[in-house]
Symmetry: none
Subunit: 401 residues, 2 copies
């Protein structure tokens, strides 16, 4: 069953507000046998209070055993089947630097590299050139002009940058030009299908002009291109759910992901507290708010259990400000688990809490992996979270008479 | 979502070992209201110890309410959608006697029958002719020669035997020739599609020659043919999971099922203890081991609760030998439930335990139907078991960036 299609048909409108609070990488693991997870170790009085009124469950972002990247993890949370709606690497990288991809765009992830006198790659990452040097070089490449197509170049970090070609009927199916080794020249861009032939020609021309512009550089005098990808075609929140949705995030990647599903990115917060300021100001203007908190994932990726615990406690501390706005539905979840013990994203399901007047209480009095396991939502796939939110917001009609 | 396809794309290789211990028909039922199941009644100190480190769940081999045969039950455990990958009855019967089916084979399940002077069936099972008499008759049929096709005949039991036709482009879609009643002659083999016409002709010729060879038999002077089926086309464990897999089993059926998914059948054990001997010897040569224990199912099918309890205790007793090998992931499960009270396979979900360093503990301290119900794996379909095993073995890459 395509649950999103069903929801699209059943959606109704009202004035209810839904808030989705995402603590990135929320789920964790004990460090020692018998010990608590990060969420269990954290003091979360506000979430625990909500647990008494809400309903919990264990959410699989994709499917049991599958570890999600940030792209698929968020698409799942937003209710889009992440396997059906693939985001190519180029598109994700462009999204990650806040570039708003349109339907005529093909995005490419590029690396500066060092070429020797014979044109062979001597360093695939241009000596990991620092961002202060590579940024201006990427900007310089904006001088490239190719007839019939707009070219955008965005610096990323160190040797990495993003190129977007915007034009009519450009295919995204072009092979990587990185030969994955040194001592050979970069590969020519090769199209894998008919609509991508023109993209490959454009990419070739881009490389020629870029090498001229970079000719006098000591390290970054060449480039390789990877992950060519057309912008994903994703129906918007408005279309699918009838929700006017806002995204509040600090990092460009999450703003970009929210934009892909038609959310409006609001404010320019630099902290969780500022994110809630933005929420408060915009409260009357939207139906749905996605609020992204990055640092639970960051400290998990760092492998720091105590720091991730602290981040969870910071996250808990802003909950009363959100509840003071009286959302009809509050969701607290993560896009995946990032156990400090593994210092990486993992496949473990994510404890999830939904709070609303119409919850059927599950008798739980705290919010954690241990409690979520016994919650009223059971184990469920992320794509069911939005339908559940809409139901509790009384925004879904009965199916059938 | 096709989870197996996703896993195929995400698989990575390492040197981890995965062991899947299958106690056939493991799940049970209480005999009396309030009483324990077989697994709950059994003393299983070793499994209970593992429960503290592992994570449990309730597995549906096919779907809630569906009772699996051995074929679909094992295909599900192996991660293949059992509804998509159907094994025809002929193919299953051939597999069950250890016949290794190839891509050019059509297998047929045959019954000896008794024909009267007019050629009508007087006994559909040839008086349930004992195996000692029917075996040599089946072997005699190996004299049948049909141009352009190889013919294999394998005795099964009593009136049953298997015929395999091997040749180019043989369809498997031929109707049964058993009229399901006496007083009429066997039906002629009728093809249901174009590629099966030749198979039907070959089957007709087989019957003609067989009746000549059997003409002087008092009971088994005829035959009927059922369940024509081409060998199922199933991608191998190597292809799908990147695992070099070994199967250790006593009974031909399970060896055959493992062979269908490309496992190598190793050793010739005659008991569970010998199966573990085989495991120990082969430990360095494979990534994945499927170990099949038959007698939990056999005693369940016999309707003997206390005997099934004993078998579970025997199964528990070998666990320390397996754990001494330090598999990165151990799975303990069954291919279906076989409650002694029902004396048959049943639809009840199967308690399943996964043990690995990266499990998120679920606080359980014993392994049973009662505990599995509250386990960290929740209720899940069998096809997710292999993805979970691979994830805990760190053999799956992140999905998306």
């Amino acid at each position: 069953m395509d649950i999103q299609q069903l929801v699209r048909e059943l959606k109704t409108e009202n004035r209810s507000k839904i808030v989705m609070l995402v603590a990135d990488g929320l789920g964790g693991l004990p460090v020692e046998a018998g010990g608590p997870t990060e969420l269990e170790a954290a003091k979360t009085p506000n979430l625990d209070t909500l647990a008494r009124r809400g309903v919990q469950g264990m959410m699989n972002p994709i499917a049991p055993g599958i570890t999600p990247g940030s792209g698929p993890g968020h698409l799942g949370l937003f209710g889009y089947d992440p396997v059906k709606h693939l985001i190519g690497r180029g598109a994700l990288e462009a999204t990650g630097v806040g570039f708003k991809l349109g339907p005529k765009d093909v995005a490419v992830r590029c690396n500066f590299c060092t070429l020797d006198a014979a044109g062979n790659i001597s360093d695939r990452r241009a000596g990991r050139i620092p961002s202060e040097q590579s940024g201006p070089l990427a900007v310089k490449l904006r001088d490239i002009k190719i007839p019939g197509v707009e070219v955008f170049v965005e610096p990323v970090k160190e040797h990495r940058f993003v190129v977007v070609f915007r034009g009519e009927k450009l295919g995204g199916n072009v092979a990587d030009t990185d030969p994955q080794r040194t001592g050979v020249p970069p590969l020519a861009p090769v199209a894998h299908d008919e609509p991508s032939r023109r993209t490959a020609e454009i990419a070739k021309e881009f490389v020629v002009q870029a090498q001229e512009l970079l000719a006098d550089q000591p390290k970054a005098n060449g480039l390789t291109m990877r992950g060519f990808s057309a912008a994903p075609v994703i129906p918007s929140y408005e279309e699918v759910y009838g929700l006017k949705a806002a995204a509040i995030a600090v990092y460009p990647m999450y703003k970009g992901l929210a934009q892909l599903v038609g959310m409006e990115v609001i404010g320019q917060p630099t902290s969780l507290s500022e994110e809630i300021d933005v929420l408060e100001k915009a409260w009357n203007d939207y139906d749905f708010f996605f609020i992204h908190f990055k640092y639970t994932d960051s400290r998990g990726e760092d492998g720091s259990f105590p720091e991730k615990v602290k981040m969870i406690e910071q996250f808990d501390a802003i909950v009363p400000r959100v509840m003071a706005l009286k959302p009809m539905v509050l969701i607290v979840t993560g896009d995946h688990s990032t156990p400090a013990r593994l210092a990486s994203h993992s496949w473990h399901p994510v404890p999830t809490l939904l709070v609303s007047e119409t919850c059927r209480p599950d008798g739980l009095t705290a919010f954690s992996e241990k409690t979520a396991l016994h919650g009223g939502l059971g184990h469920f796939q992320a794509v069911y979270l939005m339908p559940l939110a809409l139901a509790h917001a009384e925004r879904l009609a009965k199916f059938g008479a």
